[in-house]
Amino acid sequence: MPDARTLALLGGVLLLLAAAAGAVRFLRSRTDSGLDAAVLQTLGHRVRFWFLLFLVLAGAFLLGRTATTVMFGLLAFWALREFITLTPTRPGDHRTLFWVFFLIPLLQFVLVGLDCYELYSILIPVFAFLLLPAHIALAGDYKRFLERTAKIEAGLLICVYSLSFAPAMLTLSLPGEDPYAGTRLLLFFLLIAQLGDAMQYAWAQLPSKHVIVPTINPHRTWEGLLGGAGTVTLLGAALWWATPFSGHWWWMAGVMALVTALMGFAGAITMSAIKRDRGVKDYGTLVEGHGGLLDRIDSICFAAPVFFFLTKFWLAWFGAGQTG
C-alpha cells in the first residue's frame, strides 16, 4: 500500500477531476450560462479522457513499475500509429515501417523497464536514426528520400523516445528510502503537464487575445501561455511536498512546473504546425468525435525527456546531500 503522501496526491487528482466533471455537468444543465455548447462539449470530452487516463495510470502505478512501463509503451504505440497515419509515406517505406512499429518501441520500453539507461538513451537517436535511412535506401526508392526519413524519425522521436522518459522517471535514484518517491514524481509531472494544457486553454478564453502565431494555431495566445505557465508554476511550488525537491529546494518544484508548461507549449505548437501542413485538425478518432490520443499527450511527449534530464542533473549535482 502506498504511503500517505502518494495517496494524498492520487486522491487530490481524483477530487479535482470529480470537481471538473461536476462543473461541466452543471454548466451544461444551464442553458443561460452564455457559454458555447461546442466548448462545453469539448470540455466534457477532455474530462472524460482525463478520468480514463487517470484510472488506467493509477491502476498501473499501484501494480508497479513494470505495469506502468507497459502502459506507456501501449500509449507510445498508439501515438505512433496516429503520427505515421497522417504522414505520407511511399510503398518503399513499408518494410522499414514494420520494424519501426514492432521492434523499436518494444526494445525501447523493455530497456526502460530493465533500467538500462546507457542503452535506452541512445537506442533511437543513435542506432535507429542511423540504420533506418539505410534500410529505406535498400528498398531502392529515392524520391523525397530525406523528407520521408525525417518524418519517420520525427515520429519515433516524439511518440516513442520522448514518451519513454515518463516511465523512466520511476528508475531515477531519488534521495531517501521511499519506494513511492518515483511514482509521486511521475504523477506530479503528468498532473502539471495536463494542467498546463488546461490552464493555457482557460487563460486563452480571456477577452483580450494576442495570438502568438496566427498561421499555426489561432487559439494559442500570449495571455494563455503566460497565465497558464504562471498558474502551474504556483501550483507546482505548492505541491513541493509530493516531489523530491524538498527542504530548501522547494522552489525547484515550481521551476520544474514552469519548464514543463513551456515544453508543453512547445509540443502543442509543433504538433499544430504538422497538422496545419497536413490539413487536419486532430490526429485521430480513437473515440468518435474526439481528437486523437496524440492531441492529448503531445505536451507529455515534449516535456518528459526535459523533466527527466533536469531531475537527473539536479540529483547528480545537488541531490546527494539531500535526505528527503
Binding site: R81, E82, I84, T85, T89, P91, H94, R95, L97, F98, F101, G284, T285, E288
Partner: protein
C-alpha cells in the same frame, strides 16, 4: 479450435491491426439482404470490412472472394470455407451455366448479404478502377437487393500488394446510403454511378 471463438479472435485482430474507425453516413446497419461493394487495395479488405459489421449482420454476410487465392493451402481453405463462409469465384474459368453471378444469387438465397469488390483485383490505392459488370447483372437478377457503397481508406498502406508483413496504421471504413438499379439505366451508367458512390465517400 471452436470456429466461433476463432472468428471472434480474428475479428479482434483485424480491428486492432487496422485500427479501423467505422462510419455509417446516411446509412444504418441492418440484417436485410444487401450487397456491400467496396474499393479493393489489400488482402485485408475483406476481413476488415466483414469485422466492421455488427455481429448479427456479420453472421449473415458472406464475402465473395477469388477461388485461386483462397483455396491455395489448408489454412486459407479452412478460413474461407469455415470461418468467413466465403463464396469462392473461379476467376480463370468462367462457364456459361455456372457464371459467378448465378452462383452468388444461388448462394445468398433469401437471407445472406454479400461483400464484393467490383474492381476485380487489388489496385494500388491511388484511383478506384472501372467496375466489372458482375454487380450490374446481379442487380438485374435481384433488383430488390440494397447496394451499400463502402469506402476503405488507408488499407493499401497497412498491407499493400506484394507485401507479407502488415504495418498497423489507422484506417477508416465508411458505409454510404443504399442505391438500386434504376429502371432505364444502362450497364455503363449504373457501374459509373456505383463507382462514384464509393469515390464520394472518400471526400466526406
Amino acid at each position: 479450435m471452436d470456429t466461433n471463438l476463432l472468428r471472434n479472435i480474428l475479428v479482434l485482430m483485424a480491428r486492432f491491426l487496422s485500427g479501423t474507425s467505422i462510419r455509417w453516413i446516411d446509412s444504418q446497419p441492418d440484417t436485410c439482404q444487401r450487397v456491400y461493394f467496396a474499393n479493393h487495395t489489400s488482402h485485408l479488405d475483406g476481413i476488415v470490412l466483414w469485422s466492421a459489421l455488427p455481429q448479427d449482420v456479420r453472421m449473415l454476410t458472406r464475402p465473395v472472394a477469388a477461388k485461386d487465392y483462397w483455396t491455395a493451402g489448408p489454412v486459407r481453405r479452412y478460413l474461407s470455407s469455415r470461418v468467413f463462409n466465403a463464396i469462392l469465384i473461379d476467376r480463370k474459368e468462367i462457364k456459361v451455366h455456372r457464371s459467378p453471378v448465378q452462383m452468388m444469387v444461388r448462394e445468398m438465397g433469401d437471407q445472406y448479404s454479400l461483400i464484393v469488390f467490383p474492381e476485380g483485383s487489388r489496385s494500388d490505392g491511388s484511383e478506384i478502377r472501372e467496375f466489372k459488370s458482375g454487380l450490374y447483372y446481379l442487380c438485374k437478377k435481384r433488383p430488390d437487393l440494397e447496394l451499400i457503397p463502402v469506402h476503405i481508406d488507408n488499407m493499401n498502406r497497412i498491407l499493400p500488394r506484394g507485401e507479407v508483413l502488415p504495418v498497423p496504421l489507422l484506417s477508416c471504413i465508411t458505409f454510404g446510403p443504399p442505391l438500386w438499379l434504376e429502371a432505364n439505366e444502362t450497364k455503363a451508367q449504373f457501374l459509373e454511378r456505383a463507382r462514384s458512390a464509393v469515390r464520394r465517400l472518400k471526400e466526406i
